[in-house]
C-alpha cells in the first residue's frame, strides 16, 4: 500500500502539530499522494522547514502558526483556509504533548496542559471544521490517539486520560456527524520510532520489542498509511472506530 497508488490531488488535508514527528510523516505521505497539505504548529521555524520538506516531496504544502486551544483563532483561521483552498476534506487531530509524572507527583499544571492540548484541542478543531464539512456533506476526521489511551501506563495518567478521552470523543462525534456523511475515526499508535523515542537506550528498546507480537517498534509511515486509508474513499463505510497501529500489542 504505497501512497503512489493513492491520488489525493483534489484533496485538502489539514493536520495539527504536523511540523515534526508522526504528524510530519503523515503530512509527507499525503504530500507524495499529491494532496494539498495544510500544517498547523506552534513553532514557526519548524513549520518553515516542514513546508520546504513537504514541497520537495511533490506536495502543495502550506504552514500556519496556530494554537489548537485558541478557539477564536482556530475559527477564523479555518474560515480563511476555506476561502484560500476551497474546502477542507480531512482533519487530522495530531497535536499532542506529554508531561509524564507519577500520580503522587503530578502537578495540576501537568494534568491541565496535557488534557488541554490533546483533548480540548481536538474538540476545538473538530467543532470548527465540522461547520464546513456539514455544509459540504462530506469529510473525514482522524484523531491520533495512542495505545496508552487503551491500556494505560504508569507515569502517564494525564496522557492516558487525554487519549482515552479522545477515543470516546471519536465515537460521540461519529454518531453526531454520521447523518452529514462526515466520518470520525481514531488511530492508536503503539511504540513508534520518532525523535521522542530516539533517545531510548537499546536495552529499553529490546524490552519494548519483547512485549510486541511483531517484535519491533513501528515507523511513522505505518501510522501515516492508516491515516491515508481512513481519509479516503476506501474507508467510506468505516466510522467511530479506533484502530491500533501497534504490532499487535493491544489485541484482544
Amino acid at each position: 500500500m504505497d501512497s503512489a497508488r493513492y491520488n489525493f490531488s483534489d484533496h485538502v488535508i489539514l493536520i495539527t502539530g504536523a511540523a515534526r514527528g508522526i504528524g510530519k510523516a503523515i503530512a509527507g505521505h499525503f504530500a507524495t499522494a499529491g494532496a494539498t497539505v495544510l500544517i498547523l504548529d506552534l513553532n514557526q521555524e519548524a513549520i518553515d522547514i516542514a513546508v520546504k520538506d513537504l514541497n520537495a516531496l511533490g506536495g502543495k504544502a502550506f504552514g500556519y502558526l496556530a494554537n489548537v486551544i485558541d478557539g477564536p483563532q482556530i475559527e477564523s483561521l479555518f474560515a480563511e483556509l476555506i476561502k484560500e483552498h476551497g474546502k477542507i476534506d480531512v482533519l487530522i487531530n495530531n497535536a499532542g504533548v506529554t508531561r509524564d509524572n507519577l500520580m503522587l507527583r503530578m502537578k495540576e499544571e501537568e494534568w491541565d496542559m496535557v488534557l488541554d492540548i490533546n483533548l480540548k484541542g481536538a474538540f476545538i478543531c473538530t467543532q470548527k471544521v465540522f461547520k464546513h464539512m456539514m455544509k459540504a456533506r462530506s469529510g473525514s476526521i482522524i484523531n491520533i490517539a495512542s495505545v496508552i489511551g487503551i491500556m494505560g501506563n504508569s507515569g502517564q495518567a494525564n496522557y492516558a486520560a487525554s487519549k482515552g478521552g479522545m477515543i470516546a470523543f471519536t465515537k460521540s462525534c461519529a454518531k453526531e456527524f454520521a447523518s452529514r456523511n462526515v466520518r470520525v475515526n481514531a488511530v492508536a499508535p503503539g511504540f513508534i520510532e520518532t525523535e521522542m523515542t530516539a533517545s531510548l537506550s537499546d536495552d529499553i528498546r529490546a524490552e519494548y520489542a519483547k512485549v510486541i507480537p511483531l517484535n519491533k517498534m513501528g515507523s511513522p509511515l505505518d501510522v501515516a498509511r492508516l491515516c491515508m486509508f481512513l481519509a479516503g474513499k476506501e474507508s467510506e463505510y468505516i466510522t467511530g472506530q479506533t484502530i491500533a497501529v501497534d504490532g499487535g500489542l493491544t489485541m484482544h
Partner: protein
C-alpha cells in the same frame, strides 16, 4: 428579495421541503422533519444570509417559520 422570501428559500434548500409546506405556523422539527443538526444549520444559514449573529439563547425562539421571519425582521429593522 424580502426577508420572508429569503427565509422560505433557505428552508426549502436546507430541509428539502415543498414551498407549499412552508407556512408561518410550520414547526421546523415537528412539521418539516428537521433533526437537531438541521436546526443548527438553518440558524447558521440565516446568519450567513442576513449578516447577523443569532445568540444561542435566541435559537429556541425560532421554532417555526413564522417565528424565524418575525425574529429576523425585528433584528434587521
Amino acid at each position: 428579495m424580502d426577508i420572508e422570501a429569503k427565509v422560505k428559500q433557505i428552508v426549502m434548500d436546507k430541509l428539502g421541503v415543498e414551498e407549499a409546506q412552508i407556512v408561518p405556523e410550520a414547526n421546523f422539527i415537528e412539521d418539516l422533519r428537521a433533526d437537531s443538526l438541521d436546526t443548527v444549520e438553518l440558524v447558521m444559514a440565516f446568519e450567513d444570509e442576513f449578516g447577523l449573529t443569532i445568540p444561542d439563547e435566541d435559537q429556541d425562539k425560532l421554532r417555526t417559520v413564522g417565528q424565524a421571519i418575525d425574529y429576523l425582521k425585528s433584528k434587521l429593522s
